[in-house]
Symmetry: C2
Subunit: 342 residues, 2 copies
DNA sequence: CTCGGATCTGTGAACGTGCACAGATCCGTA
DNA sequence: TACGGATCTGTGCACGTTCACAGATCCGAG
């Protein structure tokens, strides 16, 4: 009958079908599937042929159920809408993590948490046993996702290091030290009045970059030279620069919290007639696509985003294998890229 | 023994545990879990309490196995590295799709296919029964992922419409019509020598945008005024503009294949001393963050990226419910955003 | 020829859930 | 009281895989 036919057509081949086709038992098929020893050459070739013939593909749900693991790890991006779209690093982090996981034959599954509803569903999903571990990008302090992951004891590694994650594994850059180093470099060009456009102070990265700046200027610190803006954005860079320039017309050096901020600041400086780097030197942070687009090209701190993703993935894989969890968190070097803007 | 204790501590609560705790059977627990009728008020409250007490969370692998569905849909991004990082629309597509799926209580899982190895693993993953349907972003002609999805008969919807997908569902914009409309608008400002920097002609979107341009200029078409470049990028915009300007110094209007291309072209034009829009009018495509960043801000075609994601998600959900698959593909409107650059 | 180990194979149980079915209880009506 | 229907509950099987175990065969050494 046609309904039976339809059902047969739909029905996916199982190990049983392969066994029947090859004239052996399920156990033997399972052994060749998992590359185990103790299977005769005859059986092996018969089974390989049968697999090809019936078009067998293992059912991952059944496999996960019995093995209690899924060979998939989640990459959780917990960002409000706008940031996910604009963050210059996130794409590279994804690619780096994907590359490392791919080499270990793990499937990476990127999970987005945008609304509170997403967070709930995601927490349930993670508890469902379809994910062996997670990489968490840009968690915030007090983040409900962070709590959910802690409750289940999933292997997890954070990219970036919010202050409340305790001894969890993390891979991060040292924002403070990097900010200090590039500010020192800017100071070394002989500037006397170096200011900062400090963005995103509600995030650890933003606060740390400001702290590094303060470290570097040391005794010469002048609060007037720091302008605070909410976001790592081009337009906040413009706004910040206008205010700072009005307050301190004698400024001759700028450390911007991000490349986008620097680009905005540069445009304002140039339309006010300041020459870069002659009148004002400016440096940024990220080494994103903005940096090369500036004229002159921007000197900046290179964020090893691809490597961050890769290192985070490797950390999760180590935890999965039960090797040391290297609790205290790893920090990656951020080379300074010196171009023409300072 | 401590090992037993450890095992107990790890072991996740199951329906059986809940049933034991509540003093009922597995069947009754299952009924309340799935909101079925015919369960007494007493049993219901006892079970709710038991679920909370033992911290029960359903195992999704077991559920998928018996139900033959997973309540998860995959969003496949098949892009070489650089494009994923730079594509201005992809983030918005993700967010739009995620929002729609979230409302239907589906988990979205973004899957990246970068290397050929990724493609293989992804195809196996998709066959594994852990994914009920897929949204495919930026597939290419002859794409192996496209073939893999066709082989399994997973519900699938494409964002964008490669020519070889036959009657599969898709959600796309009309690149040709949009290009025609914005070119007409540019022509209507009184330009006599309107050229195009045509990027990515190996992609459908690139080829269609050129076709729309040709449609619009009609009889006035002059092949010299079209410069072809490989990528939708800022630097290809610069390169293309330099070549075009050298060949046709009298050009007074430019349609660039993308905003990034337009931005590159604008910088070259301005450093050659051409005033925008007085000497040369320029328009782009995408309405990405580049557009507002230009000075003057760029007139461009708005891509409804969020809506594309949402519509694709809804299409997959409809297929899952068995409703009409609306085979021929849907097209979304692209409003023209007129700013100062033309 | 017998024994023991290595090699190969099949069978049953388990993973955690949903569903069909059968059985039990309750209540209103004839 | 007896009956039929509605309501509620428990049990066994199925989903597709892996694994432990037991049984079968082979081969070389004593």
């Amino acid at each position: 009958m046609s309904s039976v036919e339809a059902r047969n057509r739909r029905r996916r081949a199982t190990v049983k079908d392969v066994a029947l086709e090859a004239g052996v038992s399920r156990g033997t098929v399972s052994r060749v599937l998992n590359g185990q020893p103790y299977v005769s050459e005859d059986a092996r070739t018969a089974i390989d042929a049968a697999i090809a013939k019936v078009g067998f593909i293992p059912n991952r749900a059944a496999r996960s159920l019995v093995l209690q693991r899924s060979q998939a790890i989640g990459l959780i991006v917990h960002e409000p809408h706008s940031l996910f779209v604009e963050d210059p690093n996130i794409g590279s982090i994804l690619m780096g993590a994907n590359a490392a996981l791919s080499e270990a034959d793990y499937q990476m599954s990127t999970l987005i948490a945008d609304t509170p509803r997403d967070v709930d569903r995601l927490a349930r999903y993670l508890s469902g046993g379809l994910i062996d571990g997670v990489i968490i990008v840009s968690a915030r302090v007090g983040d409900p996702i962070t709590e959910a992951v802690a409750r289940l004891d999933l292997p997890a590694t954070f990219v970036g290091r919010p202050r409340d994650i305790g001894s969890a594994a993390s891979v991060a850059i040292d924002n403070r030290d990097s900010a200090r180093r590039i500010t020192n470099r800017l100071l070394a060009t002989g500037r006397r009045r170096v200011g900062m456009i400090a963005a995103a102070l509600d995030r650890d990265s933003g606060a740390d970059r400001l702290a590094g700046f303060v470290d570097a200027v040391g005794g010469r610190f002048d609060a007037e030279l720091v302008e605070r803006v909410p976001l790592y954005s081009y337009s906040d860079g413009q706004r910040g620069m206008r205010t700072l320039l009005a307050r301190c017309p004698d400024v001759d050096g700028i450390f911007a919290s991000s490349d986008a901020v620097a680009a905005g600041a540069m445009d304002v400086l140039q339309s006010e007639g300041r020459r870069i780097p002659d009148d004002v030197g400016i440096v940024g942070f990220d080494d994103s696509s903005w940096a090369m687009r500036c004229d002159p090209p921007l000197s900046t701190v290179h964020q090893p985003a691809t490597e961050l993703g890769r290192a985070a993935a490797e950390s999760v894989l180590r935890q999965l294998r039960g090797v040391s969890d290297e609790s205290e968190g790893r920090q990656l070097e951020c080379p300074i890229v010196w171009r023409g803007s300072a």
